[in-house]
């Protein structure tokens, strides 16, 4: 489909499309498919393809402007020809994301929605798509608005008590400011708790498979991918380069990288390989440490386990189909067989679980979700400002000082949604209190 948007789309439509019945009415009836042919300007007799034309009249369209969509049989050659015909007729190629930008500028969506459109289009797992759709439909914007409403009330209460102390006496419910601040704080914390999984969903994780030679690292990559991406061989030292693939770990898009086995007494090429593996480990979000459960862990395995202590990692005991060694794998290890596929789902679940290892809550089935580091930083600032304001109100700090923290919090909300707070506080005061002696 080719989509064209802007005030002059109908002119373009008329030059590149002719309905089978001719233009019975012009402009055509909105939202009603017209059957006909698409063609280059002035070349109706040599059509490109049969096509359907749909007209959306502003403002009831995706961008809020007049929009025309031309659908043909498809195929790169046909679509390219229709596109070129439209350009010839006066349209120009859209910038990346331009339709969404126009939709935003025309008031069809707010900033958090517009941002989420790009993430929705690029979502690589079903769960990521679902969560992004929620954002496109405005879930985060609504929660930010609720936080802002609470803060606005606090600010109005504080400012009214400063600027109109005699008028509002008795109108202010004691504790109301603190209550609203706590509401804002609770909402902020809740939204922030989705940050780990939300960011993982939208930006994905990188997991690096490491282990001593021949434990089955490449086999595990292949098993996770469901295809023979990496070469597997019974000889130790088979893998020399990084090989990667993408998997869906219970909704989280994960880039998994297979590496060369780490061996202590390495020579020339291998030294370089091990060095590169270590650099790769430093950049990873998560390490998958593979052990061979059919033999007791060796010195290499032990030193690997030792040095990754405290680092985000999942320990995988591979080759569970073979007879286990007496010692057995360390506690908490996921038992897997790359050969039979046993335990692979457990491994994916462990990867997913890791996302929430250091706090945070699952994104749940509804409500706002934080999907970028930028949003998380704004929310962190917001949370700290709310905490200071709440502590100030609890400790009886003077209102003009608490107001500094509340103002700070309101500015963070602006950073979150891209909206700047203007003089809304006064409007709020005047609508809420009976001011004036």
């Amino acid at each position: 489909m080719v989509r064209i948007s802007g005030p002059r789309v109908l002119e373009v439509a008329r030059t590149v499309f002719t309905p089978r019945t001719g233009w019975r009415s012009f402009p055509p009836e909105p939202r009603r498919a017209l059957v006909g042919h698409s063609h280059r300007p002035g070349a109706a007799s040599d059509p490109i393809d049969q096509a359907l034309l749909l007209f959306f009249q502003q403002p009831r369209s995706y961008t809020g402007e007049d929009v025309v969509e031309i659908t043909a049989h498809g195929g790169p050659l046909i679509m390219k020809a229709i596109l070129e015909a439209s350009l010839e007729a006066g349209a120009r190629l859209a910038d990346p994301g331009e339709f969404t930008r126009r939709a935003f500028l025309n008031g069809r969506m707010d900033l958090s929605q517009a941002e989420a459109v790009a993430r929705l289009v690029h979502a690589s797992t079903d769960q990521a798509r679902r969560v992004m759709l929620r954002q496109v439909e405005g879930a985060t914007g609504r929660e930010a608005a609720a936080i802002r409403r609470n803060l606005l009330e606090v600010k109005a209460l504080l400012e009214a008590s400063i600027d109109f102390p005699e008028e509002i006496e008795g109108d202010i419910q004691p504790g109301r400011a603190l209550e609203c601040t706590r509401n804002a704080l609770a909402l902020t914390r809740k939204l922030l708790s989705t940050a780990r999984e939300g960011i993982a969903l939208s930006e994905g994780l990188s997991a690096v498979i490491i282990g001593t030679p021949n434990v089955g690292k490449s086999s595990i990559l292949n098993a996770l991918l469901g295809e023979e991406r990496a070469i597997v061989h019974e000889m130790a030292g088979t893998t020399r380069d990084f090989i990667e693939g993408r998997i869906d770990a219970h909704g989280i898009p994960v880039k998994v990288v297979d590496t060369a086995g780490i061996r202590e007494a390495a020579d020339g090429v291998e030294v370089e390989g091990v060095l590169r593996t270590r650099r790769m480990m430093e950049r990873a979000d998560l390490l998958l440490i593979i052990l061979d459960s059919s033999r007791p862990p060796g010195r290499g395995d032990m030193s690997l386990l030792g040095e990754t202590e405290g680092v985000a990692r999942v320990i995988v005991a591979n080759k569970s189909d073979l007879h286990p060694a007496d010692a057995g794998p360390p506690g908490g290890a996921v038992s897997v067989s790359a050969k039979t596929g046993h335990g692979l789902e457990d491994l994916k679940a462990a990867i997913h679980r890791h996302v929430l290892d250091r706090g945070g809550e699952p994104v749940g089935l509804e409500g706002g979700v934080v999907t970028s580091v930028r949003q998380a930083e704004a929310l962190n600032g917001l949370k700290e400002a709310c905490e200071r304001a709440a502590a100030g109100l609890e400790g009886g700090v003077d209102p003009e000082l608490v107001a500094v923290d509340v103002g700070d919090a309101m500015m963070r909300i602006g950073e979150l949604t891209g909206e700047m707070t203007a003089d809304m506080v006064l409007d709020e005061i005047f609508s809420r209190f009976c001011i004036g002696k």
């Binding site: 350009l87 500028l105 003009e400």
Partner: protein
């Protein structure tokens, strides 16, 4: 030189003035005094000399944020603070249970004494001439104003003109369905002057306000009312005064009730402010009692403050009962209030509407941008309040003087003074209702305190010649002592361990003082060798500055962040009609002001955050060199 007026017969006195001030209200008095004290030949032209410095509304000076302005006027070398210190009959500090930044002073004035004092002061001022006359229009030299002419045919050539004509421009008084042209109840309106301003191409608007009935104290039973007394140890408004020696009188608190409200509700259609007869915008913070009853039907009572208008009069001002209702309704509703059952009205409350000049047409020196030599100050710029008027009058008078002298104008920053906030708000945001200062309008609020007005502004007052070298030096000395003392706190430590909750032994006295429960005077307890500064004003400043330090830092960081918006410029030829994300209302406001930066746009009242973000995205898009409304975009393939 030619006149903007057809009449040619004109009597021209020989004097060429440096500054002519039109209007002798609170703005005009400050403007005229400042110009004359700067050494300039100054004329104050008043419709009625008897009414110079008249308090047309409530008999009080100061109040929240306004008290700050009075002290700022004093620090800059104005007169209002001295006038109220000399003639106040009750002095109070407001918000004493809150922090120092938001404590403000307020005083009840003896209205008659106040204006007598002020007139005497003006008359005693060298180079200041006072004349009665109704200014009708301007003498022009090209685009420049070079004087005024009056109804009586006099012409006053001048190098600069300050217009501070209050509510007199095309004033129209309403009491119920009666109305008549007036500048204040019982005084002339300035109809021609308003036309002359419009004739200069200035965009005018209309505002309204209302005042309260004045009651006869003889007919009030004070027994059921609650007295409100002044503070015995009030710190005077002026830095020159150390004590108020005068006796103080109380105000009285009364309360409306459901009966009062029923009478008001039954007569709403007879209020010109509600019936739609009046077209100006009313002030939200000073609503009529009929508006209050209509907007808050759930309230069973509103407080009224009965304020004496002076020692030599029995007139009582009914603060809180602003109304434009007919006199019979005013009397009927007043008499439902305990204590006022037998009350007699001496003067009825009335509503007044008047023209104002949209102040966005002024520069930050209060000079009209398109008319060199013409300065506007006070209610003519859409403000309300004596203090706001006086602050502007001072700025306009100083800048008229500086212009005559060929010196650069005095522009006060938003981080320096409430007067700076006031002027900046007016000239960048404009206003659509009578503008009143509030502490919440000052984003640098913690810096702008009554207690440090001298430290903030005296050197500026000295630079323009309104503060003596000696006074400026005294303030500098005080600032130095404060700074040294704060430094000293950063060198000495807590030497005594007073256990749980007390500052830790070894910590700096500076950090100890930041704890909420520690006061500067207590510091000797924590370090017996430490002797606090002797001067009380220095000690107070040290305590305030240290305690506020962390918050001031955060406040300033926030202001800095907002300033980023200031750096985003909006192209002058922006076409707001192409921005669908912006509602028609907001678009109109943007088109009215045509802000130059995103920051300025965000401060325009009614411009929503969503609109600002839309503008921001639009700017980001157009910076990439493309006009989003140009050619239709095509080619999205799915």
């Amino acid at each position: 030189m030619n006149r903007d007026h057809r009449r040619t017969k004109g009597f021209r006195p020989s004097t060429q003035y440096d500054v002519v001030v039109v209007g002798g209200g609170h703005a005009g008095c400050e403007a005229a005094m400042a110009a004359a004290r700067m050494g300039l030949e100054t004329l104050l032209l008043s419709i009625s000399i008897d009414q110079i410095a008249q308090m047309s509304c409530n008999p009080a000076i100061g109040g929240l944020a306004k008290g700050h302005v009075v002290r700022e006027i004093d620090a800059l070398g104005g007169v209002m603070a001295q006038a109220i210190d000399a003639t106040g009959i009750q002095f109070r500090r407001l918000n004493t249970r809150k922090g120092p930044a938001v404590r403000s002073s307020r005083a009840q004035a003896d209205m008659l004494q106040y204006k007598t004092w002020m007139k005497e002061k003006l008359e005693g001022q060298e180079r200041l001439h006072i004349k009665q006359g109704l200014a009708e229009g301007f003498l022009m030299d090209g685009a420049q104003v070079v004087g005024v002419h009056t109804q009586a045919g006099e012409e006053f050539p001048a190098r600069t003109v300050v217009v501070s004509s209050g509510t007199f421009l095309n004033g129209m008084v309403h009491i119920g369905d009666t109305r008549y042209a007036a500048g204040r109840a019982g005084e002339f309106a300035a109809v021609s002057l308003s036309a002359a301003l419009a004739g200069l191409g200035l965009r005018m608007g209309r505002l309204m306000t209302c005042t309260t009935p004045r009651l006869d104290a003889k007919t009030i039973d004070f027994r059921p009312l609650t007295p409100q007394n002044g503070d015995p140890d009030f710190v005077p408004f002026s830095f020159r005064n150390h004590r108020i020696e005068r006796d103080q009188v109380p105000c009285w608190i009364a309360r409306t009730n459901e009966k009062t409200h029923r009478i008001i509700a039954d007569n709403l259609d007879r209020s010109p402010m509600i019936s739609g007869v009046m077209t100006g915008a009313p002030p939200r913070y000073c609503p009529s009692v009929e508006d209050k009853v209509r907007a808050f039907p759930g309230r069973t009572g509103h407080r009224l403050f009965l304020e004496p208008e002076g020692l030599s009069t029995r007139e009582i001002y009914t603060n809180g009962m602003f109304t434009g209702l007919p006199i019979d309704v005013q009397l009927e509703m007043l008499r439902t209030i305990p204590g006022l059952e037998e009350v007699q009205i001496m003067r009825p409350g009335y509503a007044i509407e008047y023209d104002f000049v949209h102040p966005t047409q002024l520069g930050p020196d209060l000079q009209v941008k398109s008319v060199p030599g013409l300065f506007l100050a006070g209610q003519i710029n859409g403000t309300s309040g004596y203090e706001e008027a006086a602050g502007q009058g001072l700025v306009a008078g100083i800048n008229a003087g500086l212009r005559v002298k060929g010196d650069p104008p005095l522009v006060l920053g938003r981080n320096e003074s409430y007067i700076g906030v006031l002027v900046d708000d007016l000239v960048t945001k404009g206003t659509s209702e009578p503008y009143r200062l509030l502490t919440s309008r000052a984003e640098h609020r913690l810096l702008l305190r009554e207690d440090n007005a001298d430290l903030r502004l005296m050197d500026k007052g000295h630079a323009v010649g309104l503060i003596t070298a000696e006074e400026a030096e005294t303030t500098k000395e005080k600032a130095r002592l404060i700074e040294e003392e704060i430094e000293r706190l950063g060198r000495h430590r807590v030497t005594v361990d007073l256990g749980e909750g007390a500052p830790r032994q070894g910590s700096l006295l500076f950090d100890a003082l930041r704890q909420p429960e520690v006061s500067y005077r207590d510091l000797t307890e924590y370090n017996p060798g430490f002797e606090p500064a002797e001067r009380r004003d220095v000690a107070d400043q040290v305590q305030i500055q240290v305690k506020y330090e962390g918050y001031i830092r955060r406040q300033e960081a926030m202001v800095e962040k907002m300033r980023h918006l200031e750096s985003l410029r909006i192209p002058e030829d922006i076409d707001y009609s192409s921005l669908g994300a912006i509602s028609a209302e907001v678009r109109e406001k943007l088109e009215g002001v045509r802000p130059r930066t995103l920051g300025q746009a965000s401060r325009i009242p009614g411009v929503t955050p969503a609109a600002v973000s839309a503008l921001m995205i639009y700017l980001a898009g157009s910076n990439r060199g493309r006009d989003p409304e140009g050619d239709p975009a095509g080619g999205g393939r799915t």
